[in-house]
Symmetry: C2
Subunit: 349 residues, 2 copies
């Protein structure tokens, strides 16, 4: 049994950091100390952890002295600068940003899917993109049993993935709508993407842009789903294509996933498989109108799967409707679960 | 030149009927009289047409005496009972319900796509399902130029397609959310489908059910998209599969459409084609964050297409994001456009 662990949370005040703290309060990790790190702006603020008041400290390289585990969720720039500093001081970093995900020396891990990749870490483990994680949880059992040739996914993503301010913006637009305020007077300064030039209202709308546009007309979010899927499944030959869309939902990403399997699989076989798959809750009974819903997923760690159907015109094609809390399994929980899994595997020194 | 026409609108007080009246005020059809028909409950109510007050009459078989054109949008049961009565009395019926759509003797028409089918009518012409229409407007030019082997669509559908009461329900749930009312106290009595057993909240949610569940785990809405596409395109060999989802949008259906063409087509070729296609507005410039949005489509007759991209792993695969006002091109406008097209083709006796 390892000694108790010193943990640091970087980005403690953000939408993901807040969830991380709640989860850490109930974690199976044996905790010694926990410190909360944030930018100079948030330093000095107080928060509650296990009933005790804690003060947020300013993030500096020496913050990581004596830290065993550092959970980062404060933007790619912060991770780029400070994750190596944490590693240098002996910490294991689980990074929730996209910065290290495609680095060949960094494992990209969904614990239900590729825990063995954790053994190859060099100090940093990357947490995949929220929309990728829940898709992997649902599809890996199918890939193992029937093979997977192809994935075509359309997402219905919640606004909490864009942070607390984006959630407030959606609420304000919603109030504006109910007050019959003309559309051109709605405040839109963040969505679809804080770092981009133009901003559009999300309330009572669907925005087919998440993150900025990149190569070949795809957004970064779409490329993340494509590239991360191939890395996590360790198979460059799977065809993957994605359309990522933000809808006016606070938390809970939904995904309409189309797959083509290698071997033919019946609906009953896929249902049976997923009913026993780790991290999956099967909610699939059309006769009782049972299917996953974003609102029902909030606060839960599992990935919910339903609407499993065969393509009427393609023997090896099938649909799934996959829903999960993007702040939990999509971010905070998967990060902490990586740490717990590493602990169980004896990977902390 | 034909004499002026007598027109009847059946279901004048509904969400679609209201739009129908507005459009008819500006129609190119030469109008003599216009009568508004509805159930006994709505009869006697007044509405305004071209600045004059009109009284809604109760729908009975003899309502159609002397009527040249009857536009039906009052539910499948009403169409089943009264459309034949209208035809018997010499009227041409354009029916916005699903009742006659798959009847082999009834043309199912999107004027930009298959106007010639109108010549084969036997008194009734069916208006396709809202989500099918906008997909046909966007895909038919591609089918003609490059051939079309396959369609996989995921929809993001607005609540106005479920009627005025459903819109009110969404508004009330939205108020409940903003007032921090617990989820289990939100009123949900209509959505996802008025005629089904269970009802769920739509505010800040995504419901993967539109209409009731039918064969093979597909909903009726999904089967409509599949079957109507093959009928309108007059090609049983096109592979079509669909996932239909209601999202908290008032009006404007969005669709994430994946296609596989027969011949290889570049993005530039598809853009060029659609920029000149009837009824299509191309909104596709990622560098300027230009893509179709539900909120921008409201009140417009066109179908907006953007996010055109090739599948990175499949030479003949491509994505499109297709948006249109479901009450206009998806319902009232397509119905009236059918009538105007028939008039131009000399199909009224």
């Amino acid at each position: 049994m390892m000694r108790k662990m010193n943990v640091a949370i970087v980005g403690a005040t953000g939408a993901v950091g807040t969830q991380m703290i709640k989860l850490l309060e109930n974690s199976t990790l044996p905790l010694d100390t926990v410190k909360f790190l944030a930018s100079k702006r948030s330093a000095g603020k107080q928060l509650s952890f296990k009933g005790e008041t804690q003060t947020i400290e300013e993030l500096v390289p020496d913050s990581f002295e004596g830290v065993d585990l550092a959970l980062f969720s404060a933007g790619g720039g912060i991770s780029a600068k400070f994750a190596p500093e944490a590693v240098k001081r002996g910490a294991v970093v689980v990074d929730n940003t996209s910065h290290f995900r495609m680095d060949p020396s960094v494992p990209l891990v969904v614990p239900e899917v590729n825990p063995e990749a954790l053994r190859k870490h060099n100090g940093i483990i990357a947490n995949p993109n929220c929309s990728t994680i829940q898709m992997m949880v649902a599809l890996e059992p199918i890939r193992q049993a029937f093979g997977l040739n192809r994935i075509i996914v359309s997402t219905y993503q919640a606004v909490s993935g864009a942070g607390n301010q984006a959630m407030e913006e959606l609420k304000q637009q919603t109030r504006d709508f109910l007050a019959d305020k003309p559309l051109d007077e709605w405040q839109a300064e963040i969505l679809p993407c804080g770092g981009d030039k133009k901003h559009y209202p999300l309330a009572f709308n669907a925005l087919a842009q998440i993150d900025v546009f990149a190569e070949e007309g795809y957004t970064n979010e779409e490329w993340k789903m494509i590239n991360e899927t191939k890395k996590i499944m360790e198979d460059e030959t799977i065809k993957v294509s994605a359309t990522c869309v933000r809808i006016p939902v606070m938390s809970g990403h939904s995904e309409s996933i189309y797959i083509e399997t290698e071997k033919t699989a019946t609906v009953a076989e896929i249902q049976e498989l997923l009913s026993q798959a780790p991290g999956v809750v099967l909610e699939d009974d059309p006769s009782q109108q049972i299917y996953p819903q974003a609102l029902n997923s909030v606060g839960k760690k599992e990935t919910f799967v339903g609407r499993i159907r065969k393509d009427p015109d393609e023997e090896k094609g099938a649909h799934l409707w996959v829903v999960s809390d993007n702040l939990l399994k999509g971010a905070a929980w998967n990060s902490l679960q990586i740490a717990e899994t590493m602990y169980e595997m004896g990977l902390f020194k």
